[in-house]
Amino acid sequence: MNTHLPPRFRAPALFAFVAAVALAIGGAVHGWKTVPDVLPVPIVVIVALYLWGGRDSDAGALIRHHLDERQAEARLKVQALVGRVLSLAVAAAYIVASTSKTTWWPWAALLGVGMGTFLIGWLMYGEHRWRKPTQHQ
């Protein structure tokens, strides 16, 4: 789908698709009368993504998925920050849930996903990736 769309339309189209699915699920579960109440939110986001995506800025490049090395480095740092904050939030939620004796296992599962992803990431991008085959002299 993405390859046929101009870069500026990709993020709005992806968000429109996700929003349509979410609205369909929400409408089916909570009733279709609730859909018009929340519909303005995705419309505003889609228009904002389209307008921002056309700007000659770092945010525009991010929305168009057309990043150079500096912008990609910035995105990587932001993603790392998001990962750290989410990990801490999940750990805190797990502690609160287990001490208050409420349902704790979803938080434990999310912590497990985080740790598993770290291990997979280390295997994919860790030191062995940079190690050259042993050279015999």
Binding site: A61, D68, E69, R70
Partner: protein, 65 residues
């Protein structure tokens, strides 16, 4: 880098297109806020036809980062 760009009569946007980065990145490099990768640094040096060390002379602090 700005001097070399001006000597060649290029705008920041021209240089950005020539070396395949955004205009904002050219601005960041020229203002010293971003130290480019070796790959990009070589592309810029070749664009101007000068040795790398003539374009980039990072401070000790930048190297230690």
């Amino acid at each position: 880098m700005r001097e070399h760009r001006n000597q060649q009569g290029m705008t920041q946007a021209d240089l950005a297109v020539a070396v395949g980065v955004s205009r904002q990145t050219v601005i960041s490099i020229e203002s010293g806020r971003y130290l480019p990768s070796l790959r990009l640094a070589f592309r810029i040096a070749r664009q101007f036809g000068v040795p790398l060390e003539q374009l980039f002379e990072p401070t000790n602090e930048e190297i230690q980062e």
